[in-house]
């Protein structure tokens, strides 16, 4: 078992390496270079950029080096933890990244838990009370949940909160707490700012997972072993939760990868709108201002999050399904 985990970790490293290669390749396809947009930005701000400065910048970022060297410089920096300087943030990228990554992980994890926590009971209820009024209402809500683009929902919630709640919703902290030292109040303030974005991020996944759960459970309830359990005299509640739901969970766990991918993407969009300092938000911002090397780094980090999530998903699958425990 341990060997299997180690092997998977090894795969992870290789995959990440390939991801970084692919990402870098994409970045390099951009016409002009990152330095170019920085130079034009500086010029637009009115400062003059001397040829010397241009050359220095180019040298630093290896603009004229062959592709492999460039990649080496960037990737090497990644591994060493030296992410270079961010144009957009005017500070070493490392400072920018770690705190943001923590928040991203928290949001991704939180959204996944919320999505599962709601989807499973609601899905079970829906499947066992098919075609009742409650079920139809749930189905309707699900449809809308999947159909609304996340940024729209985020906007609507934001505007709604401001209009009707008068709450100061943007950002991670209210003004008073922003630079204050950590305290219980500050923590609560942060949570107060986080629960709405968290809900918005989980909406699409919750809706989709509920539908999947409903369909799966209905299939499982038609299986023979459910009848066997009933024939044994098992009380109905246990038949559903102990025997049926346990089996219906498999597809949910197997699609954890897709769910996570959607959640991470959603986190990026929602964070931009709610102005939360997450990796996803930084990614989009650096993309918008063409701070491409940083963007590449951030993308690799998000991928790492996804890959780890997938690994956790596979472990989870092995835990709940003995048939998946056949390790090769």
């Amino acid at each position: 078992m341990v060997i299997w985990i180690l092997r998977r970790l090894g795969y992870m490293v290789i995959t990440l390496f390939l991801v970084s290669l692919l990402t870098f390749f994409i970045i390099e396809l951009a016409p002009g270079s990152a330095v170019d947009s920085e130079i034009s930005r500086l010029r637009a701000m009115g400062s003059t950029v001397s040829t010397q400065q241009v050359e220095a910048l180019e040298e630093q970022y290896g603009v004229n080096d062959p592709w492999i060297v460039k990649y080496g410089k960037w990737a090497g920096g990644l591994v060493r933890g030296d992410f270079g300087m961010s144009f957009a943030y005017r500070q070493p990228v490392a400072d920018v990244i770690w705190s943001r990554f923590g928040l991203s992980v928290a949001l991704a994890l939180g959204a996944t838990i919320v999505a599962w926590g709601i989807a499973i009971p609601v899905g079970v209820y829906s499947a066992t009370h098919r075609y009742t009024l409650a079920d139809n209402i749930i189905t309707l809500i699900q449809f809308i949940g999947v159909a609304i683009p996340e940024f729209l929902l985020a906007l609507a919630v934001l505007v709604g909160a401001v209009q009707f709640g008068g709450i100061d919703v943007g950002g991670l902290f209210s003004n008073e707490y922003r630079n204050a030292p950590w305290s219980m109040d500050k923590l609560l303030d942060m949570l107060a700012h986080l629960w709405m974005p968290l809900l918005v991020i989980s909406v699409a996944s919750t809706a989709w997972l509920t539908r999947v759960m409903r369909a799966n459970l209905f299939d499982v309830l038609g299986q023979q072993y459910v009848q066997t359990a009933r024939a044994k005299g098992v009380p109905e509640r246990k038949v559903i939760w102990k025997h049926a739901v346990r089996n219906a969970l498999h597809p949910l766990v197997m699609t954890l990868g897709t769910t996570l991918s959607v959640i991470i993407g959603g986190e990026a969009v929602v964070s931009i709108i709610f102005n939360l300092p997450t990796t996803g938000q930084a990614l989009l911002q650096t993309l918008i201002v063409k701070d491409t090397y940083v963007a590449a780094t951030l993308l690799v980090m998000l991928s790492a999050l996804l890959i780890i999530g997938n690994l956790v998903g596979d472990l989870l699958l092995m835990w709940i399904d003995p048939r998946a425990r056949v390790l090769d």
Binding site: Q224, Y225, T228, R230, G233, N247, P322
Partner: protein, 389 residues
């Protein structure tokens, strides 16, 4: 031709005759009378059972034979009250007689069941709600059931031992260790090699025959008085089937277990059963001892079934016997005798319009037929009919 004025639901006179057994002898562990089951589907109402009556005698094997759609499985599920949601018992009775010497642990469900049983230790299952505690006390504990597909009948995510233990803990002994030991013992009794290891295995790790044995162990773990087997060997190869049948015979002989064995194979019936009932379109068309069924079949359907079995050693190039036509669409109701469109012994209007009552043929052993050919009352008027042709 005089037409008999009879309600299409079967006449009182006919039933009275079949009911010569009255409420069934106290020798029968289950007595089913006029059981009607209806299924509501989006395409209409289906009468799955149209008045089924039979007895399961204590300590013997009753075979239930019929084509798909005849209602064999529905009968079994009705007895266990595990019909699918769309199904409902709309009429009739199922009387379960618990053996007098039966000792049971006192659990909450057991107390409910005790309350439900009347003075003679009987209870009408149709009067119990499917989700009631009393019914759950019966299921698995007094009456147990095994199903056709052993792979899909066992929950793939729990070990064999766990699933057997669950039944024991529900009905007999809540203690974890003891119930586990009992489970292993049960596996041993059904002839499993290395029962302790099997108990720790998952269904997908076992072969088909072993899974079916595990199912039997699970069903027997609470020492039920009646075992209902719904085509348990259909999905198995012949060798394994022989082993399972031998196991069942042993159970009957050693512990006097009553078995209701559902099958569509006459060969299995010959090997295992003591009495047989033949079902067609939700009715029992013939019931008799196994010898009578094979050597003196009366109902045209039974006879066609037997004739359609290909015989080794028959002359070459003899065409296979078939029963003409096919089982009718369950949504349509066939008037009169439901077999009449396909019956080789069709006699005329009476078959088309009147549902034959069950006639008990004279003889030492009980032999009932639902067919106008043997209908005494019709025979009385028979001379009139003959004359009018």
């Amino acid at each position: 031709m005089t037409t008999r004025r009879r309600a299409s639901g079967g006449s009182r006179a006919g039933d009275r005759r079949a009911d010569d057994l009255g409420r069934g002898s106290s020798d029968a562990i289950i007595t089913v009378r006029d059981l009607q089951v209806e299924y509501k589907t989006t395409l209409g109402k289906v009468n799955a059972l149209n008045g089924v009556s039979f007895d399961v005698p204590r300590g013997s094997v009753l075979g239930v034979v019929g084509e798909s759609g005849s209602g064999k499985s529905v009968t079994a599920r009705a007895i266990m009250q595990i019909l699918e949601r769309a199904g409902k018992i709309t009429d009739g009775s199922i009387v379960f007689r618990r053996p007098a010497d039966d000792r049971r642990e006192s659990t909450q469900q057991e107390d409910e069941l005790e309350a439900a049983l009347d003075s003679s230790g009987e209870v009408d299952i149709t009067r119990l709600k499917p989700t009631s505690d009393a019914m759950r006390a019966i299921r698995g504990s007094e009456i147990a059931m095994i199903f056709q597909e052993p792979m899909s009948s066992l929950n793939p995510v729990y070990t064999i031992g766990f699933q057997i233990q669950e039944a024991i803990r529900l009905h007999q002994n809540p203690d974890k260790k003891e119930s586990w030991a009992q489970a292993i013992d049960m596996l041993d009794q059904v002839g499993m090699p290395n029962p302790a290891r099997i108990a720790d295995s998952y269904p997908h790790e076992l072969s088909g025959g072993m899974r079916q044995r595990a199912m039997i162990a699970m069903a027997l773990s609470c020492h039920p008085a009646l075992l209902i087997a719904d085509e348990p060997t259909t999905a198995l190869d012949v060798t394994t089937e022989a082993q399972i049948l031998a196991l069942m015979r042993r159970l009957k002989e050693e512990i006097g277990m009553s078995i209701l064995f559902i099958t569509h194979s006459m060969g299995v019936v010959a090997q295992l059963c003591d009495e047989v009932i033949v079902m067609y379109q939700g009715r029992v068309v013939e019931r008799a001892s196994v010898e009578d069924i094979f050597y003196h079949p009366k109902h045209p359907y039974t006879r066609s079934l037997l004739r359609s079995i290909p015989r080794i050693g028959a002359a070459e190039h003899t065409p296979l016997e078939v029963i003409k036509g096919s089982v009718p669409d369950p949504y349509t109701k066939v008037s009169g005798c439901s077999f009449h469109p396909r019956c080789p012994d069709f006699i005329g209007d009476v078959c088309r319009t009147v549902i034959p009552p069950e006639t008990l043929l004279p003889g030492a052993e009980r032999h009932g037929v639902r067919c106008h050919l043997y209908d005494d009352e019709r025979a009385l008027a028979g001379s009139t009919t003959e004359a009018s042709r």
